[in-house]
């Protein structure tokens, strides 16, 4: 029996982006579970165990970067591949997003669907190669 497809947590307050990302990931062979806020994401994390997380930076209330930082403080998610997504495209935004969220990667919206898949694939591969350490 083959292993189930990797599960990706998608957190974005934009209906559009939750829909777009889920479709791109489904086409790439991933399963997704999505949330519109950090609060919803925390609820999901009590019941599901994703293999990676894509977090929008600008969420209502707690931001994606804050959620990422919180996840890093939990042993269950401390080595999870986490990618911050944002329309903030300046280099310093990217550096801050990665540093403040202690995230694995940063991707600027809008992105080519292929690029999202290839970067996610690389993160998951790195994690598998490092025995579970993606950071």
């Amino acid at each position: 029996m083959s292993a189930p497809a990797p599960l990706v947590l998608v957190v974005d307050d934009s209906d559009d982006y939750r829909r777009i990302i889920s479709r791109v990931l489904a086409a790439g062979g991933y399963r997704t579970v999505s949330a519109a806020s950090a609060e919803e994401a925390r609820e999901i994390l009590t019941a599901r165990t994703p293999d990676a997380a894509l977090l929008d930076w600008n969420l209502p209330g707690e931001s994606g970067v804050e959620l990422s930082r919180w996840m890093r403080g939990d042993p269950r998610w401390s080595r999870l591949p986490i990618m911050i997504l944002s329309v903030n495209s300046r280099v310093e935004d990217q550096a801050n997003g990665l540093r403040l969220g202690d995230a694995s990667a940063y991707m600027v919206k809008p992105f080519p669907p292929d690029e999202l898949l290839s970067r996610l694939r690389a993160l998951l591969k790195r994690r598998a190669g490092a025995g579970g350490a993606a950071r």
């Binding site: 307050d13 934009s14 209906d15 559009d16 982006y17 829909r19 777009i20 479709r23 791109v24 086409a27 519109a36 806020s37 609060e39 919803e40 600008n58 969420l59 209502p60 209330g61 329309v87 903030n88 919206k109 809008p110 992105f111 080519p112 669907p113 292929d114």
Partner: protein, 319 residues
């Protein structure tokens, strides 16, 4: 700003010469120079211009008292600082507004990229999926248009360029019309929309009052749970003010976020249904209410579940 206009007024023969700092400031302003480059020298008084040799000996030039020159310098510096602060705040708002516009634009671009990729992969025959995408894109474009409209409304309000037409009005009637306008949408979401209209004679602009109420009811419908309730009630309080409250039984606004609720682009929780707001509705609503002598407040208690917004308007012109 009247303060600045007074300091930088044009020189005239009837007036004593201006201190050099003020004259230089005025020249720089007139030349469109950046204010950061305007320097205020320590010397406060300009000597009078030399007279032609044939003229009789001039009267001693009038001198500004030192305290007056000092005060003028202080006023000029204060005006400069105020304008600089206003410009920084304005830039900050512009940056946030730009971000709000970038997000839906990015989504539109991503839809197009997705459609293009699927088309290349041979998915062009799946016209149903494409039509769905086009539908989503239209919704996003409409959201973008609403956001731009609200940004323009915000700038008009900030610049006091909104023309209000206050007159005697019935806030209960405005509430009734607003509730009726949203009744079909509420039914679609299986939300019970109740109107409790008590007498609420008010002094205000009925069109603007309706704009505020429509935004409150639309927000409540987005945040009420499935099969929840939204109540619109009106009345008059003991101090001669008309009020209208819009309540829902959703999660309400967390205590920590209430201070930001009426700020620009504040979005504290995602809606349970429907399109997200522009983040400007409550800011605009409060500004409109205050421009009419009223107010818009979040009225839920600290531990109360659900959100309660209260619009008040004066009951008469003089109230």
């Amino acid at each position: 700003m009247s303060l600045e206009a007074g300091v930088a007024s044009a020189p005239s023969a009837a007036q004593p010469a201006k201190p050099a700092a003020i004259a230089s400031y005025t020249r720089a302003r007139a030349a469109g120079a950046r204010e950061e480059r305007v320097r205020i020298p320590a010397a406060a008084v300009v000597p009078p211009a030399a007279s032609p040799s044939s003229a009789p000996a001039p009267e001693p030039a009038p001198r500004w008292p030192r305290w007056l020159a000092g005060a003028a310098l202080l006023l000029a510096a204060a005006a400069f600082a105020l304008r600089r602060r206003a410009r920084l705040q304005s830039n900050e708002v512009l940056a946030v507004a730009a971000h709000e516009l970038k997000s839906p634009l990015a989504a539109l671009e991503s839809y197009l990229a997705l459609m293009q990729q699927e088309g290349k992969a041979g998915g062009a025959a799946d016209t149903r999926a494409w039509l769905e995408d086009v539908g989503h894109m239209r919704t996003t474009a409409a959201h973008l248009r609403r956001t731009i409209g609200d940004i323009l409304e915000m700038t008009r309000l900030d610049d006091a360029r909104i023309k209000l037409e206050p007159r005697p009005m019935d806030l209960a009637e405005s509430a009734r019309r607003s509730a009726e306008a949203f009744r079909a949408l509420a039914a679609e979401s299986r939300i019970e929309l109740t109107l409790r209209a008590g007498p609420a004679p008010a002094w205000g602009d009925p069109t603007r009052a309706r704009q505020i109420l429509d935004n409150l009811v639309a927000n409540a419908l987005r945040h009420a749970p499935e099969s929840g309730t939204v109540t619109v009630s009106t009345g008059s309080d003991g101090s001669g003010r008309a009020w209208c409250e819009v309540t829902d039984d959703g999660k309400g606004v967390p205590q920590a976020g209430r201070a930001r609720l009426f700020t620009r682009f504040a979005r504290l929780s995602p809606p349970l249904r429907g399109e997200p707001g522009t983040g400007l509705g409550l800011y605009i609503g409060r500004a409109l209410a205050r421009a009419q002598g009223g107010d818009l407040e979040y009225a839920s208690g600290p531990a109360a579940r659900g959100a309660r917004f209260r619009l008040t308007l004066p009951s008469t012109r003089d109230a």
